[in-house]
């Protein structure tokens, strides 16, 4: 199972389509955190600029629980994160919303999700 956390539903649907896998979409960090207590995903695609708590707050939440800290996260954003090393937060990669392709999205799904 893959989680996509993005407040832009259309963009989230594009990501799900590209993964060609079963996925759940969450419009904000609260909903995603709630769902994490029921089910641990194999991979999370995470937008940074969310309504309410942002992606960085969500990453901190993930790191604070023993079961969620190991869930791999791919950041999907228009922000320039080129110089930020977020590997300590379980971030395994980042995609730029303006330039990413379905193939790039799927490559992460292929690597981390069944």
């Amino acid at each position: 199972m893959i989680f996509v956390v993005d407040d832009n539903r259309e963009m989230a649907e594009c990501i799900v389509r590209a993964t060609r896998r079963e996925a759940r979409i969450f419009g904000n960090a609260y909903e995603a955190m709630d769902a994490l207590s029921d089910e641990l995903p194999e991979l999370i695609f995470l937008d940074i600029l969310l309504d309410g708590p942002d992606g960085f707050t969500f990453l901190n939440e993930l790191m604070s629980y023993s079961d969620t800290e190991k869930v791999p996260v791919v950041i999907v954003t228009s922000l320039d994160l080129a110089r930020k090393d977020l590997s300590a937060y379980g971030v395994v990669g980042d995609l730029n919303k303006d330039t990413m392709t379905p193939k790039e999205i799927r490559s992460y799904a292929d690597e981390y999700a069944k």
Partner: protein
């Protein structure tokens, strides 16, 4: 930063989001064996919203020319048009929209296009901030000799600074703090500009479980078909 430049940055960022989505949707076609009707509908919906936003921004520039005539406008018909336009988007985002008309005064004094944009932006805002599987409400009623169009959402409480600006009756500029697509306040800024032009009162009410945005319009004294 200069307020105008700040506003342009917010607008540019808001308009970049639908372009990024359109690009992804176009790339999705390569992923499929046959063209997909669902994706085509999404592309139309996203591009129409972006075009509307550009049109609204262009209209703000033209407000000072006074080109938008005030006329008797059938408020329910405008609401029907807007809800029809946004029906796909509400369905796509899994939100319900409840509509309730109780106004006896059928005509208000307004500019039809500007009123359309005010209600459109209120509803888009409500859709954006309501949680999944929740609803937004559009209510048209008579109040204090005016017609009140109110849009209620069940999302997070409106930030105090935006509420204060709405209480004052207009928003000075969209916020660029987060520059988040759909939540920079650009829609509310457009709605407040257009309402001010129409001499309509705009405001917001904070609820424990969401926010209501409203615009109050003067009743047109022209006899309506229903009065005859």
């Amino acid at each position: 930063m200069d307020a105008e430049v700040d506003g342009i940055l917010v607008a540019a960022h808001e308009l970049k989001a639908p372009l990024a989505v359109l690009r992804q949707l176009a790339l999705s076609f390569d992923e499929m064996d046959a063209p997909n009707e669902h994706i085509r509908s999404e592309m139309i919906s996203v591009s129409e919203r972006a075009i509307k936003q550009v049109n609204d921004l262009a209209k703000i520039r033209r407000l000072s020319d006074g080109l938008f005539e005030m006329e008797p406008v059938a408020v329910r018909a405008v609401c029907d048009d807007v809800t029809r336009e946004l029906a796909y988007l509400f369905r796509f985002n899994r939100r319900d929209l409840a509509i309730r008309y109780s106004n006896k005064s059928k005509l208000v004094t307004a500019n039809r296009d500007l009123l359309h944009s005010v209600i459109y932006n209120f509803l888009l805002n409500a859709m954006h901030y309501s949680g999944e599987e929740t609803k937004a409400e559009l209510v048209v009623k008579d109040e204090h000799g005016k017609v009140k169009v109110e849009v209620r959402d069940y999302g997070p409480a409106l930030p105090m600074d935006v509420w204060k600006e709405m209480k004052r009756g207009w928003i000075k500029k969209p916020t660029s703090i987060a520059m988040r697509p759909g939540s920079s306040g650009l829609g509310l800024y457009i709605a407040s500009k257009f309402s001010k032009y129409m001499k309509a009162e705009i405001g917001a009410v904070r609820h424990r479980d969401g926010t209501s945005f409203y615009v109050q319009l003067p009743v047109s004294r022209q006899a309506t078909f229903w009065d005859l």
